[in-house]
């Protein structure tokens, strides 16, 4: 059974249709790379998965359970949406760390908020908070920042900030972790450290959806590649299929433009 299944996902902003029926599925432990030209709807797709936008139509299923059904009459309360989006994590292009908190606190904050809803929080408060902090320290260690726990975001480089953001997203143990061009706001010499972290996540079989313009990286790290254009999935397949033997003309044109420069 796929971890994630998306069927017929559609989204429009006023008169412009941005997603025109997206289908794909993702197995446990797979990394999916989404490529496509600017404006093709990649960010919008990730935002729909994370419920920052509500799709107009289509179905999102996680572990076989339909968690979202767009279209007529499906209204969800804030509380329902909040619960559903915990299946997903999102790493933003421009990090969006909370500037007033240290790296460590950025990673623990959301977990602490959620823990308050646990029935045993009152009685086991100390232990629970200690567990959350321990988990956050381990994650920051995993992304290579164990020496920066008490640094504030403005004291960190872009690459370090993005690694904190990855640790922050991992802290809630999402079923599927989404990345929206995680390195495109970084200076070229800083992209490597972030890509390395994502690579190591792929090696640990973290289920991921990665929107990226780094073609070499997409090829190396992903199990599946999806090429989007103008709100449609034009072609999907293994990295070898897409990069070496694209069937569709639009895919070939897109890749040629990339290899050109």
């Amino acid at each position: 059974m796929p971890v994630l299944e998306v069927k017929g996902l559609k989204k429009r902003f006023g008169p412009t249709a941005v997603l025109k029926g997206i289908d794909f599925s993702l197995e446990q432990g797979e990394a999916l790379a989404i490529i496509g030209s600017s404006g093709s709807g990649k960010t919008t797709l990730l935002r729909c998965l994370n419920f920052l936008e509500l799709a107009d139509d289509g179905i999102i299923s996680v572990n076989g359970e339909v968690i979202y059904r767009g279209g007529a009459g499906s209204k969800f309360s804030d509380a329902e949406i909040r619960k559903k989006r915990l299946h997903f994590g999102l790493v933003f292009q421009n990090f969006n760390l909370f500037p007033q908190y240290t790296a460590l606190k950025n990673v623990t904050l959301a977990g602490e908020m959620l823990a308050k809803e646990r029935p045993d929080f009152r009685t086991r408060r100390k232990e629970i908070l200690a567990e959350i902090e321990e988990g956050a320290r381990a994650l920051l260690d995993q992304v290579g920042l164990s020496d920066k726990l008490d640094f504030y975001p403005h004291q960190l480089s872009g690459g370090q900030q993005q690694r904190v953001a990855i640790a922050r997203a991992l802290a809630l143990k999402p079923d599927i972790l989404c990345f929206d061009e995680p390195t495109s706001a970084l200076d070229p010499e800083l992209t490597g450290e972030v890509l390395k972290v994502i690579r190591s996540l792929a090696e640990k079989n973290t289920t991921m959806v990665i929107v990226t313009h780094e073609m070499q990286f997409a090829r190396d790290v992903s199990d599946k590649v999806l090429f989007m254009d103008d709100g449609f999935v034009v072609e999907s397949g293994t990295p070898e299929q897409i990069f070496d033997n694209p069937r569709e003309k639009r895919t070939r044109q897109f890749l040629e433009r990339y290899n050109g420069n």
Partner: protein, 214 residues
């Protein structure tokens, strides 16, 4: 005229100035927040109405507003005027609330969307995002412009004399009318001291908030 009686009179006037200052702050700070919510409302008529109100208040002199509040009820509706100090407070509170509302608005709108969205995707509730994510950033953004506005308020209290409220400048003026210039300078010292203390206070707050950047 001796130093001591002048000091006592000026202190009395300064007391009035302080009353205007403190009551204006206490009421206009929360009122300004409410107005800023109106000016950011998704309900267009309310937003339009609030912004027009703010435009009128900020676009006309406080002195004029003060005279309208004091003389208006009698001349327009034929009812009794507010007591003088009350009229001053009404005009000041409304005027400063309008200014503060714009400071709040730019502070709130200045928090990047990504901050809310980061909170949302991490499963936080709206109130958790407000209190734990955005509030400190808003405070950090509004402290410098608030400090400016509040120091302006200290000096604006002297406008109360246009409806004959005996604040410190008016008191000093009565001595000048009798041929003494130094009480005017002396009154200036009161302002300087007060603004100096406020400046120190705001610098302290800004320093306390300097551990992060927005």
């Amino acid at each position: 005229m001796k130093f001591l009686p002048v000091t006592l009179s000026l202190l009395e006037g300064f007391g009035i100035s302080c009353i205007i200052f403190f009551f204006t702050l206490v009421f206009s700070l929360p009122l300004g927040l409410i107005i800023s919510f109106g000016s950011m409302s998704r309900f267009a008529p309310l937003r339009w109405l609030t912004r027009t109100f703010v435009w009128v208040i900020r676009g006309t002199p406080l002195m004029l507003q003060l005279m309208v509040v004091y003389y208006g009820p009698g001349l327009i509706f034929g009812v009794a005027a507010f007591p003088k100090l009350t009229a001053v407070l009404i005009a000041f509170i409304i005027n400063y609330a309008a200014y503060f509302s714009e400071i709040y608005r730019s502070g709130i709108e200045g928090v990047p969307r990504g901050q809310y969205e980061a909170g949302q995707v991490l499963g936080m509730t709206k109130s958790q995002i407000f209190f734990r994510v955005t509030l400190m950033q808003v405070i950090k953004r509004i402290v410098p412009p608030m400090a400016n506005e509040i120091i302006t308020l200290v000096k604006d209290t002297s406008l109360a004399r246009v409806i004959a409220v005996m604040e410190i400048i008016m008191v000093a003026g009565t001595f000048t009318a009798k041929g003494l210039i130094w009480p005017l300078f002396y009154a200036g010292v009161f302002y300087l001291a007060f603004c100096g203390i406020l400046t120190l206070l705001f610098n302290y707050v800004e320093r306390k908030l300097s551990y992060f950047r927005v």
